[in-house]
Amino acid sequence: MAGDARHVLVIEDDAETAEQLLDCLRASGYEVDLAVDGEEGLRRGLAGDYVVMTVDRMVPCIDGVEVIRRLRENGVATPALILSALGEVDDRVRGLRAGGDDYLVKPFASQEMVARVDALARRSGTVIRETMLRVGDLEIDLLARIACRSGQKINLLPREFKLLTYLARNAGQVVSRGMLLQEIWDLHFDPTTNIIDVYVGRIRRKIDSGQAYPLIHTIRGVGFCLRAPG
């Protein structure tokens, strides 16, 4: 049940945070509805046809996690990104159990938030089971598990291949370090070191060195983006 591909519901009670969320999402081309408490969020969530919703963990009237739970009970499957200032370890588990799809701890970089909304929006769209991914002159054969750049086969370790595939699926979109750790390693914490950068750095050397143009770009303060020029 893919909704209007660009319509996002934001449930957030803090006016300034809400304004920032709306700004960022609108700048990324989304249409945004704001609900300032849990009750309004639940009403809009049930009535509207949203592609993604962002839910603050603690909003007035009805708790954010409870809103998601009730929406799920009523058959609303809109992917939800939980935004919370609460601790990550146990709270994340509780939020995700209630039916949340992703979790972001405040304070967060707005680009990271947009990157995660993008990822959820793509997920709620029609899933195309491609067997071949193409970004510029990079070709990834998902069946044969082979990646080629300008027709040259690139030697990748299994996890490197998985990471490159994830970047390619989200080509043109920013993918944060936290998202990579979550998707590729199934780890749910923010890395305190630059280890992901170093890891991606090695893949970048394999993909980009000696090529006409770079494909993997580092987005300062957020993460990475795989995109072809032009």
Binding site: D90, L96, G100, D102, P107, Q182, D186, F189, I195
Partner: protein, 487 residues
């Protein structure tokens, strides 16, 4: 001292132990009185039965004589008995059918004895005695074959005296018991009150002056000492935590203030001067990076606190430590390469631990990260996973400068950094996180000399199956699914 004593007495009287002691005294004295009462009754009964039996035996003897030799023989026997000083407690009287005395030491038939036969009690007025007290007798009497009456009696004074002695003895015993029980009750409760008062005094002292005070031990090794010891070690632990909290606050203040001051200065400069747009851009970019650094430190700190406060085993499952170590090593391989460090895994088969994969991964990452950073250029870092009889052991060894022995216990504290690494990147929280994770998993951290270098060992307890009972296969299967909520 007197004041203290009266306070103590007041407390003793109010104390719950004393009330308890009194209840015990009442219950036990009821039991004791019942037992003593029974003893009294049984003894007196036994003695008086014996008394009656002796009268019956004497009676039988006289009747036998009467049967064989008739009245004259009986008279002779009675006269012999009366003359015998051994029988001076006995009364005899043989009368003719109209109660005229024939033989015996009584002048007349006692008026209290009616009928032809039976048992009775009487006090003769004319008894020859050196005591002024009027004697009383218990007697058996009967009409004989030819109409004569015979009475055989025995003085009751002995029996009465015996009964009195028993009564007095039992009364003394009961009294003594009550006094002893009350004394024991008061002394026990006073002892308890004194120990409780010592604990209370220490508590008040702590409330007023701080955590330095400790409850005095008496060295008796009893449960009071046990309680005091436990309370003292609880106080030690609290003091330790408060101290580490204080340390952390100081360090947070220091480690966060410095970058915050820099940021403030930068913003102030931007606010007061005219910059062109590119300068503003650069300034904001730098500030954001620094701000992110602070936020990261902050969330690391929160994360450690959260891990420390988490319930042990909440959300734990069965994991393969070897597998986690292998994944960490794979993640760090490029970083090791970049630093010219050789990263090796020394592990055999699956090694079971029960735990949280995220946390273990993070902890091992921190150890490997440290080893690569501090292990020296062109160094060699070995991660070993093994299983021995005491449980799983994970060991990360480098060939760097190591940690001086006297600093080893400090490096697990938050923000603690060795002098030589003050200027290298890092926030001094890595090993604190490792310590918190190890603690949550019941693992012991051991720091050894790798000569040269440092060898950190995490010794896990024997793996029991996770309480939640999630099968390992299922846990593995979940690991690959994107956006999967951790079960």
């Amino acid at each position: 001292m007197l004041g203290f004593a009266s306070v103590l007495l007041g407390k003793t009287l109010r104390s719950s132990t004393l009330k308890l002691a009194f209840i015990y005294v009442i219950v036990f004295s009821s039991a004791i009185f019942a037992v003593l009462g029974y003893v009294y009754w049984a003894t007196v009964d036994f003695v008086s039965k014996n008394f009656d039996r002796s009268i019956s035996v004497e009676w039988a003897l006289l009747i036998k004589a009467y049967g064989s030799v008739g009245q004259t023989g009986l008279t002779t026997l009675i006269n012999r008995r009366v003359a015998d000083p051994f029988f001076d407690e006995w009364a005899y009287l043989l009368t003719d059918p109209s109660f005229n005395p024939v033989a015996g030491n009584l002048k007349s038939w006692p008026t209290t004895l009616h009928g032809d036969q039976g048992w009775g009690k009487f006090s003769p007025l004319d008894w020859q005695s050196n005591s002024t007290k009027q004697p009383s007798f218990r007697a058996s009497y009967q009409i004989l074959a030819d109409g004569d009456h015979l009475l055989v009696g025995r003085r009751l004074d002995g029996l009465d005296r015996f009964g009195q002695k028993i009564t007095i003895g039992l009364a003394w015993a009961a009294g003594l018991f009550l006094v002893l029980a009350a004394a024991a009750g008061i002394s026990t409760s006073r002892r308890s009150v004194a120990r409780i008062e010592a604990i209370n005094a220490t508590s008040r002292e702590i409330i007023e002056t701080g955590l330095r005070e400790r409850i005095p031990l008496r060295g008796t090794g009893d449960e009071w000492d046990g309680l005091a010891e436990n309370l003292n070690s609880m106080l030690d632990r609290i003091e330790e935590l408060v101290e580490s909290n204080r340390q952390v606050s100081n360090n947070v203040a220091h480690d966060l203030r410095t970058p915050l001051t820099r940021m403030r200065g930068r913003l102030e400069r931007a606010y007061s001067r005219e910059f062109d747009i590119s300068q503003y851009h650069a300034l904001i970019g730098e500030t954001l990076i620094e701000l992110d650094e602070i936020l990261r430190t902050f969330s690391s700190l929160l994360r450690i606190t959260q891990i420390e406060m988490r319930h042990r085993t909440a959300g734990f499952r069965n994991l393969d430590l070897t597998e986690i170590a292998r994944e960490v090593l794979e993640l760090f391989e490029p970083a090791a390469e970049e630093n010219g460090v050789t990263l090796e895994l020394s592990a055999g088969d699956r090694v079971d631990v029960v735990g949280d994969r995220d946390l273990l991964f993070d902890a091992i990452s921190n150890l490997v990260d440290n080893a690569i950073k501090h292990g020296g250029r062109n160094g060699r870092v070995v991660v070993a996973v093994s299983q021995d009889s005491d449980g799983a052991v994970l060991c990360v060894a480098d060939r760097g400068p190591g940690i001086p022995i006297d600093e080893r216990k400090h490096v697990l504290g938050r923000f603690y950094r060795l002098e030589r690494s003050r200027n290298s990147p890092g926030n001094g929280l890595g090993l604190s996180l490792v310590a918190a994770v190890a603690n949550l998993h019941g693992a012991h951290i051991d720091m050894k000399d790798n000569s040269p270098g440092l060898r950190i060992e995490l010794e896990f307890p024997i793996a029991e199956r996770a309480a939640s009972g999630i099968p390992v296969q299922e846990a593995r299967a979940n690991a690959g699914t994107p956006n999967q909520a951790p079960p």
